[in-house]
């Protein structure tokens, strides 16, 4: 089966007055129709920048896509001009953002903001577009949609605003939905509702979803595959069950151990000591080395991606044939520590 999106060796840099920041460094992954993948990592690891790059929304000074390809429907989005990208945004690939309050225009009605997508991409007249907006609101589960379309964002609750964002994004039935931390700004109960909604829409319309988050719990409930990013690189990628059962990268271990689980033996949560690296002067070799308990001399050189199984990849010297340690044993070590 052919992937609908293929990111190949993407590299994104930002030219600041303090130097060049390597935000995304050789990231590759593929996305298939109707699939949900999760990209997890700490703040600043490059996950949002990756999604912005797909949409062509990197602020152009100071940022730029230094190299790589993003193939969508056989076209490279990196080399596409802005006018053609505009036709794709909101139409074939959509994005929803973290904070629904600031992400909606305060002086335009909610209905107008949704209808705009229809008027723009499907060239519908305003009246018809507003009708479809009402349908969209119904679809995302907002009661009394005929009244709501005339309201302004500040008249709605956080959860409702996020539903509106989803309605806006899915109006033209895009092939891909990128959800950048969609629930971080919401209450826990609302979080669950929103994730349910996204899941439902994913199954109903076969919209592929790229879910960006730092919350491993959400990923477990929703994604079929997970990418773990650190300092601009993908350090591990695997199907979700495989990752939770058989993580290979020390960073993944750290992430998994810092999530509370009902079957934990010890009463304390472990955090990953240290700071994320400065992307202005990224260290040579493995970026996680300063924080890694199992660091070796060889880690001063950048590790190559190693295939653990057919669809499980990891960038870690521990997996090298010459390495004396095996990650499974180390992981057990971690578990009982």
């Amino acid at each position: 089966m052919k992937p609908i999106l293929s990111v190949e060796n993407l590299k994104v840099v930002f030219n600041t007055y303090a130097g060049t920041v390597q935000a995304v460094n050789d990231v590759s992954f593929t996305l298939y129709k109707g699939e949900t993948i999760g990209i997890v990592g700490e703040s600043g690891c490059g996950k949002s920048v990756t999604s912005s790059a797909i949409m062509g929304l990197i602020p152009s000074p100071p940022g730029q896509i230094a190299s790589g390809r993003i193939l969508f429907e056989d076209e490279d989005l990196v080399t596409m001009d802005d006018k053609s990208l505009q036709k794709i945004r909101g139409n074939q690939i959509s994005m929803i953002f973290q904070d629904p309050m600031t992400s909606l225009n305060p002086v335009l009605t909610v209905g107008l903001q949704i209808a705009e997508s229809f008027m723009l991409h499907q060239k519908l007249p305003k009246k018809k577009a507003m009708e479809k907006a009402v349908e969209m609101l119904k679809l995302v589960g907002i009661p009394a949609p005929e009244i709501r379309i005339r309201q302004y964002p500040h008249q709605m609750s956080g959860g409702m605003r996020q539903r509106v964002m989803i309605a806006m994004a899915l109006a033209c039935q895009p092939r891909i939905l990128i959800a950048d931390e969609p629930t971080t700004a919401l209450d826990v109960t609302v979080q669950a509702q929103i994730m349910e909604l996204i899941k439902k829409l994913n199954t109903e319309f076969s919209t592929a979803v790229i879910l960006i988050t730092h919350d491993l719990g959400i990923v477990a409930g929703m994604c079929s595959r997970v990418l773990v990013m650190y300092a601009g690189r993908v350090v591990e990628s695997a199907p979700v069950n495989e990752l939770y059962a058989n993580p290979q990268h020390p960073y993944s271990w750290g992430l998994l151990k810092s999530v509370p689980r009902p079957d934990m033996k010890s009463g304390t949560l472990e955090s990953i000591a240290g700071q994320p690296p400065d992307l202005l002067a990224p260290p040579p070799g493995c970026a996680f080395m300063p924080r890694c308990r199992f660091a070796m001399e060889v880690c001063k050189q950048p590790p190559a991606p190693i295939k653990v199984t057919e669809d499980h990849m990891c960038r870690c010297w521990l997996l090298d044939k010459a390495s004396p340690h095996t990650p499974d044993i180390l992981f057990k070590e971690c578990e009982t520590a």
Binding site: T16, A18, G19, P290, C292, A295, E297, V298, A322
Partner: protein, 302 residues
């Protein structure tokens, strides 16, 4: 691959991967950004020049501002009279230099006195809050509804033209924007979480005022004070133009401009030089104020 490179490295949390560039203090950064702004540097240079000219200039001219010599009246600029002469034969350059003293001192004094009054008034209103604040700001709101210039004009009609009276009139009116600004700053800063945090950590009110409220309001206060100077100079020029400014023979730039305007058709240079002086000075102060405003804005920190 040789086996020894897979030897484990001692695990020390390597903190050396700190942020590469040294962090600068707030004021260092402000100064750096101000310096980058070429226009504000230009403004500073020009103002320094004008101030120096105002202070020492009159000592270097062979003429005094009141020497009349009707025989050389209305002469165009020449090597003898760099700015020409006015309708009574007085050297225009000298008059412009003396005018600089008057106009600049009006600007600076008005700005300083309005700053003091404004900071006090706004500070008290903001700090005490509640009823005190409401009453004080009500008064300001009521007085604010009339254009400032109208007040100043009326005051000058009552007080009669004169340098001292101009100071009084300007001071009585132009403190209000500063008061509003300071009060607003204090109100918003008070609510800020770090003030609460400081309080919780046991800091006394006085310490909060000096270490938190004042340093953070200094920026906008400085900007407002800088921008009040050209406003005061303008107001004085305006008053002089309609005959309510300083009295003869003392001449501010406004008076000179007023006199020059009446002979615009025949001797345009008589208006040009004082007008240029006013404009260049106001322009420079505005550049500096703009530069300060950009430098002080934390969001512009790239």
């Amino acid at each position: 691959m040789k086996a020894e490179i897979f030897k484990k490295v001692d695990f020390q949390l390597d903190m050396s991967y700190d942020i590469g560039r040294s962090s600068t203090t707030y004021w260092q950064d402000v100064w750096r950004r101000l310096n980058k702004n070429k226009l504000s540097i230009l403004g500073l240079i020009i103002i320094s020049f004008v101030i120096i000219a105002a202070i020492v200039g009159p000592f270097f001219t062979p003429y005094s501002y009141s020497d009349q010599n009707l025989q050389i009246a209305n002469q165009s600029p020449s090597t003898v009279h760099w700015f020409g002469t006015d309708n009574l034969g007085r050297d225009l350059l000298t008059r412009v230099l003396y005018g600089a003293r008057i106009s600049l001192s009006i600007g600076v004094v008005a700005s300083l006195s309005t700053m003091i009054i404004g900071v006090l008034y706004g500070g008290i209103a903001g700090l005490f809050g509640g009823r005190v604040d409401t009453i004080m700001m009500r008064i300001v709101d009521i007085v604010w509804s009339i254009p400032f210039l109208l007040y100043v004009i009326l005051l000058m009609v009552v007080l009669q033209p004169g340098l001292m009276n101009i100071f009084i009139a300007l001071t009585l009116v132009y403190w209000m924007p500063m008061a509003r600004l300071v009060r607003g700053q204090i109100l918003s800063l008070r609510e800020l979480e770090y003030v609460m945090a400081a309080k919780l950590a046991g800091a006394s009110s006085w310490r909060i005022i000096t270490k938190h409220l004042i340093p953070n309001s200094l920026g906008p206060i400085l900007i407002t004070a800088t921008l009040t100077i050209p406003e005061a100079i303008f107001s004085e020029a305006f008053l002089s133009y309609i005959g309510l400014g300083v009295s003869a023979p003392m001449a501010s730039w406004g008076v000179l401009a007023s006199e020059g305007a009446s002979s615009l058709r025949s001797y345009p240079f008589q208006l040009f030089f004082p007008a240029a002086a006013i404009c260049i000075t106001m322009l420079s102060f505005n550049f500096i104020g703009d530069g300060l405003r950009d430098a002080l804005d934390p969001r512009m920190r790239k």
